[in-house]
């Protein structure tokens, strides 16, 4: 599932890299090559600045301007449930979702060691969930790939208990979730998705 996903090139580039991974994957699956963008372009859409990371505030509007002509639109959901997350993951009409996890997620990472700052844990992190099981959530952490630049193995997926994942997901922005879907698809409206830019 995540074998072809890219690692993030710098420690604060999780959003553009994760976005590239879900767009590339959906571009290939849906045979819509126009949905694939160079990382530099996504850095611009995410307002990425080395050291300050990315901002999501204007991302839906900016990305919509790039993908609307392909019949796609961005979706941002607040208060997302696991059931909704699983539906997004399973749907052929949607990309995989991005979720934002609270900084204390880093206390449990496996492929690398993280030391907190002098003011504690303050950096949120973007990961790509791709499986919701009865007890656990499977996801791809692009930071783990950062520390495997020369490995011929693909970055292993991460797995955490659902309750633990739910806590990290709930803290920063009440289970913020981001994905793209075909504009004609309406079935996800029942999830209470918001219009772009109104997160």
């Amino acid at each position: 599932m995540v074998a072809d996903f890219q690692r993030q090139p710098t420690p604060d580039n999780c959003l553009p890299t994760a976005l590239k991974n879900i767009l590339d994957r959906h571009a290939e699956a849906a045979e819509k090559p126009g949905l694939s963008f160079p990382l530099d372009e996504l850095n611009g859409l995410c307002e990425y600045r080395d050291g300050l990371g990315s901002a999501t505030h204007e991302l839906p509007e900016r990305l919509d301007a790039e993908i609307a002509n392909l019949g796609y639109e961005t979706k941002v959901s607040i208060g997302t449930t696991f059931e909704q997350l699983d539906t997004i993951i399973q749907s052929d009409a949607t990309s995989l979702p991005l979720t934002e996890l609270a900084a204390d997620y880093f206390e449990t990472v496996e492929g690398y060691d993280v030391q907190p700052g002098r003011d504690g844990w303050n950096l949120n992190h973007i990961v790509i969930p791709f499986g919701v099981n009865d007890e656990t959530v499977l996801f791809y952490d692009p930071m783990e790939g950062f520390f495997r630049p020369n490995s011929s193995d693909s970055t292993p997926s991460s797995e955490r208990p659902k309750a633990q994942f739910y806590e990290w997901w709930s803290d920063p922005r009440k289970r913020w979730t981001f994905w793209i879907e075909e504009s004609e698809q309406q079935q996800l409206d029942t999830f209470g998705t918001e219009d772009n830019g109104n997160e």
């Binding site: 604060d12 300050l52 901002a55 492929g111 700052g117 950096l123 922005r173």
Partner: protein
């Protein structure tokens, strides 16, 4: 609820005062400015406004390159911006949010300040060690000659010094050393200043005079010598040393091994300078010969004495 103000780039945010300000504000900050931006502290001004200081967490790869321990350090850069939350009727706070460019500038300014502090601490910590390196000695020779001549041959005619000193900047050096208190130029004559006459420097033997006096000048006049007189060798070697110690201090570990590429990345991020690998490797070798770093093949690690001097003054951990 956020409303745009078309007259300025700032946005006014209206938040319920019933929730804790930090809790309510943090999601907005991360969405607008970056996922590492956080509320550093909140205090109440005499007007009743809440003054909110913002910090930014910068994730930094501080891995030991030799042992490949895959270590990420959350480096907190404090005081990148300040917001003011004004109590409004209806139990709300009104907050003027600056645009992202303003916050980016605040972050870049703070980062520069930290690098500048590291630069100065580094220069002062390793001055004695790099004094014998050829380029440093060559560039500082005119200063040393002026001080030595003043000590041994006072009073000196300014014209004579200007004539015998092969530097084009002699008058600038005289002026700077006068202002820093090492000599006095009065009516065309040069005499020792209060610092040159101080017991510490006056009693130094002739052999140790150069190293001691220049060490003192570097400590008290670093900015003037580097910025006003263009003596860039003062910051040249400290900069390459800082390319290593920046990570060591962030990791709180003077024994972390870095390779040339890791030092190159620090130089690029902190100074915006892109040097070739061979060039950086050569600088690290020179610093190793001067006992500022320890080098083993393509890896370098710190020296405890140097680390202790710089780590106490640099504001991150």
């Amino acid at each position: 609820m956020a409303t745009s103000n078309e007259d300025t780039e700032a946005t006014q945010l209206k938040l319920s005062a019933s929730a804790e300000l930090e809790t309510a504000l943090t999601p907005e900050l991360k969405s607008r400015y970056g996922s590492g931006v956080y509320v550093q502290n909140v205090h109440t001004a005499s007007s009743g406004d809440k003054v909110v200081s913002l910090g930014n967490t910068l994730p930094k790869d501080v891995s030991d390159c030799r042992h490949r321990d895959n270590t990420l350090k959350m480096v907190d850069i404090r005081d990148i911006a300040t917001l003011r939350a004004e109590p409004a009727s209806g139990d709300y706070y009104l907050i003027e949010l600056p645009d992202r460019d303003t916050v980016v500038k605040g972050f870049e300014d703070r980062k520069r300040e930290i690098v500048e502090t590291l630069d100065i601490q580094m220069a002062q910590a390793i001055y004695n060690d790099v004094y014998d390196l050829g380029p440093v000695k060559t560039q500082l020779t005119p200063i040393l000659q002026i001080l030595r001549w003043t000590r041994n041959h006072e009073p000196l005619d300014v014209e004579r010094v200007d004539r015998e000193q092969p530097s084009e900047n002699t008058m600038d050096y005289l002026n700077a050393l006068d202002q820093l208190g090492y000599l006095e130029v009065v009516s065309g004559e040069i005499r020792p200043g209060r610092k040159l006459l101080s017991a510490d420097l006056n009693e130094v033997s002739s052999e140790d005079f150069g190293r001691t006096i220049l060490g003192d000048v570097v400590r008290s006049g670093y900015h003037t010598l580097r910025d006003e007189l263009g003596l860039n060798m003062l910051s040249h070697y400290p900069k390459f040393a800082a390319g290593y110690y920046y990570t060591a201090v962030q990791r709180s570990d003077p024994n972390v091994w870095l390779d040339v590429d890791a030092v190159k990345q620090n130089l690029a991020f902190e100074y915006g300078e892109d040097h070739g690998e061979l060039f950086v490797d050569a600088k690290l070798s020179e610093l190793s010969e001067a006992n500022v770093l320890k080098k083993d093949g393509s890896y370098v690690r710190g020296v405890n004495d140097v680390y202790e001097q710089v780590s106490t003054s640099v504001a991150f951990s």
